[in-house]
Amino acid sequence: MAILVNEKSRVIIQGITGREGMARTRLMKDYGTQVVAGVTPGRGGQDVYSVPVFDSVAQAWEKQGPVDVSVVFVPAALVRGAALEAIDAGVQLLVIVPDRVPIHDVLEIAARAAEKGARFVGPNTLGLVSPGKAVLGMIGGRAERAREWFKPGFVGVSSRSGGMTSAISYYLTRAGLGQSTIVHVGGDAVVGLSHPEVMALFEEDPETEMAVMFGEIGTSQEERVADLIEGGRFTKPLIAYIGGKAAKSGTRFSHAGAIVEGSRGSYETKVKRLHEVGAHIVEAISDIPAKAREIAGSRPK
């Protein structure tokens, strides 16, 4: 099972002929992800690690068959165009790796995706991996490393920090706890799938028995996860770490911003809300594996 991606997902790569696109195509292919095509306008007819390159997403779909996922590696200024192209072609899941994508572009991608029933991870994401099945994006860096760091299992991981996504999963693996799917939701203020949306998917996934969340100060994602738990829409055990305790609190960009967030967004409010609804809050990343073990030990067989 796992969420969002598995060994059967058919994947294309937009921007496959660029520096990162090329390097990460190799990672995904070596790991076992079904990369069926690449797209770079003007480079149709070439190939990258024996993946055929097309001029458009529609063309790739026509020649190679249905596409489930597009991983986007184009420069930030071109992300909007590439994402809209994939959504319009009918792709249901996008992984938008680049950072520095203008926020109004992200809003437009979100609106069009909602209209077409598509979803996206990112922008500013390392990607996601369902261990033993498939990887999307650049998480793990190299296939042999991704296999060593991430093992199949029952812990779902969702994180707002790319590096910490890998770090947490690696520490779980080292403690003998595998993962169902590992998602870096992306570091920006507005992302396609945020923590609560990922938790909702973990809730439906029979393979996932508990979740780990790396949260950070800012945005309302962690509070909305607490709302989910309170509303009975996320019922599995959740271990949460919130980063940014030492950071200056109250860094808000405007008065109106403060009205939107209200009492949300700070370290204290996130920890308090999650604590209230029964999530397990850890003070250090290194405490996660032990806490997960403890929960796993007490679960009904």
Partner: protein
């Protein structure tokens, strides 16, 4: 997030068809007098700095005559407000205000949509109003594909009791505000107060715009020096660093200077994190050991070695630091040897003599640690390299021990010296620098190892000497990834025939000034 000054925001509003008071910005009392004469009525003088509550600190003054305006401007200009010196005042016609409103567009991260907010109770304390009288704050999320049509604006206004002739007038203005916010890539655009004058005209009396950092490149007209939110003007070193970041799109290099002077008994260090979460965790670890950060730097997103090199050179332009701490998430997907090579080149050039603890956990960390251990043996400093199984807390502890062992020696900034390129060398340009091969030394080379060291394989041997296997144009456009592997190999294993120059505009002059200061203090 990049803020605009009030006078800049008002220009945008005016272009977008929203009335603003007649006026102009000025930086001298003479200009103020001229503007006040043109207005020909009593004026308001408003200091242009990024602080709230200007009226309360005397930053807003009124004048009945041009002479009075000039005299008052003389007091305002040069005034120190928090971390800012007042350089400009906005001179505007004084309005006869009948009512004050609040209108703003922000981004709602949960809805993934812009959110319009309007309140018939404007002025200061809008957060308070929202908390105490939520019924007086109307909100409407906007479908970006449809825009913000006037009927939606009217419906929003009706919710909070706006009626009569004011209703269509306000609705028209709000739709225009939404347009301005969109076209200027605003993270937030607020009119507060939006006022109605005695003669029934709506004016944006004050406004506050924050532009999306990632979209600043679309708006050269804003003249934003550094696309980040500061509560003070950027330091010289931050400007130098930002220039590096702007000229090189590969990876991210964020540099924030916490202090410009590291005087006193505090234990300051240079801090080089990697990735948001990992940097924050690493920062907590060193702060817990009683260190203070001279700077906060984050090199992440797979930057080339050349960018990490420049980051280290900039960090090492801060006098008085006692150590160098580099640490990220610990399990990075990116190949860690790029950072190792960038640090190696920088530490070698500086002949570093304060301890450095470098935690490079992740892909190819073994190779990265080996690079540090092999090529930094001969410099005065103790350099320790760690990987994913060593926690930030442990590494911070190591730095503390090494700093104690060094007797708390403080770093002295060195002059910036660029290694010259020999006259007859073989040279080609890279994305941000140039590489030279002194072919007269290559005949003594046995291994030709530079070709093997080059990861993108752009070098070949011709007549016993390394040359490009691709065109110089291709190399300059990014086929040369500036990985620095050829230079390091040649320096330590062969003839030291390769020089890679990676200029950092302004750093030489900056260091010269710092050094002059260092000498004075001794």
């Amino acid at each position: 997030m990049a803020r605009l000054f009030e006078y800049q925001s008002k220009k945008l509003l005016k272009q977008g068809g929203i009335p603003v008071p007649a006026g102009e910005v000025a930086s001298s009392p003479e200009d103020v007098r001229r503007i006040a004469e043109t207005i020909g009525r009593p004026v308001a003088l408003k200091i242009q700095v990024w602080v709230t509550g200007r009226a309360g600190i005397g930053g807003i003054q009124f004048a009945d005559t041009p002479e009075e305006a000039a005299a008052k401007a003389g007091q305002l200009l040069g005034m120190k407000v928090k971390n800012f010196i007042v350089e400009r005042v906005l001179v505007e016609e004084k309005l006869d205000i009948r009512a004050e409103y609040f209108a703003g567009v922000v981004i709602d991260d949960a809805a993934k949509r812009p959110l319009f907010i309007f309140s018939p109770v404007g002025g200061t304390g809008i957060e308070e109003i929202a908390r105490l009288h939520p019924e007086k704050v109307a909100r409407k999320t906007i479908d970006v594909l449809k825009g913000f049509p006037e009927h939606e604006a009217r419906n929003m206004l009706l919710q909070v009791g706006v009626k009569g002739r004011l209703l269509p007038k306000l609705a028209d203005l709000l739709t225009k505000l939404y347009q301005v916010a969109r076209t200027s890539d605003a993270r937030s655009a607020e009119l507060n107060p939006l006022v109605l004058t005695a003669d029934d005209i709506l004016y944006a009396a004050d406004c506050h715009f924050v532009v999306d950092d990632y979209a600043v490149y679309r708006h050269p007209e804003f003249g934003i020096e550094i696309a980040r939110e500061f509560d003070r003007p950027p330091t010289e070193l931050e400007k130098i660093a930002y220039n590096v970041e702007e000229k090189d799109y590969r990876g991210t290099f964020y540099f924030f200077q916490m202090v410009e002077q590291t005087a006193g008994s505090e234990k300051y260090i240079g801090f080089n994190g990697a990735g948001g979460g990992g940097s924050m965790m690493s920062m907590d670890a060193v702060l817990n050991r009683g260190f203070k950060l001279a700077n906060y730097c984050d090199t992440s997103g797979n930057p080339p070695a050349s960018k990490v090199y420049r980051a280290a050179k900039i960090i090492l332009s801060q006098p008085g630091i006692m150590g160098y701490f580099a640490s990220g998430s610990g399990v990075a997907s990116q190949e860690q040897y790029h950072s190792a090579r960038g640090l190696t080149k920088a530490f070698q050039e500086e002949k570093l003599d304060i301890p450095a603890v470098i935690r490079l956990g992740g892909n190819f960390e073994e190779k990265a640690i080996e690079i540090l251990q092999t090529y930094l043996k001969d410099i005065p400093a103790i350099i320790e390299g760690y990987g994913r199984d060593d926690s930030p807390e442990f590494c911070a502890g190591r730095l503390e021990e090494l700093v104690t062992k060094s007797g708390g020696r403080r770093y002295e900034v060195r002059p910036f010296v660029e290694t010259p390129i020999p006259e007859k060398a073989y040279v080609f340009e890279t994305v941000t620098g140039r590489i030279s091969f002194d072919h007269s030394k290559c005949s003594a080379c046995q291994s030709k190892g530079c070709v093997a060291a080059c990861a993108p394989k752009i070098l070949k041997i011709e007549d016993g000497r390394p040359v490009l296997a691709i065109t110089p144009e291709e190399a300059g456009k990014g086929k040369c990834t500036e990985c620095l592997a050829c230079e390091i190999f040649c320096k330590f294993h062969e003839q030291d025939a390769i020089v890679i120059q990676l200029p950092i505009p302004g750093l030489k002059e900056y260091r010269d000034r710092i050094i002059a200061g260092q000498d004075e203090n001794q």
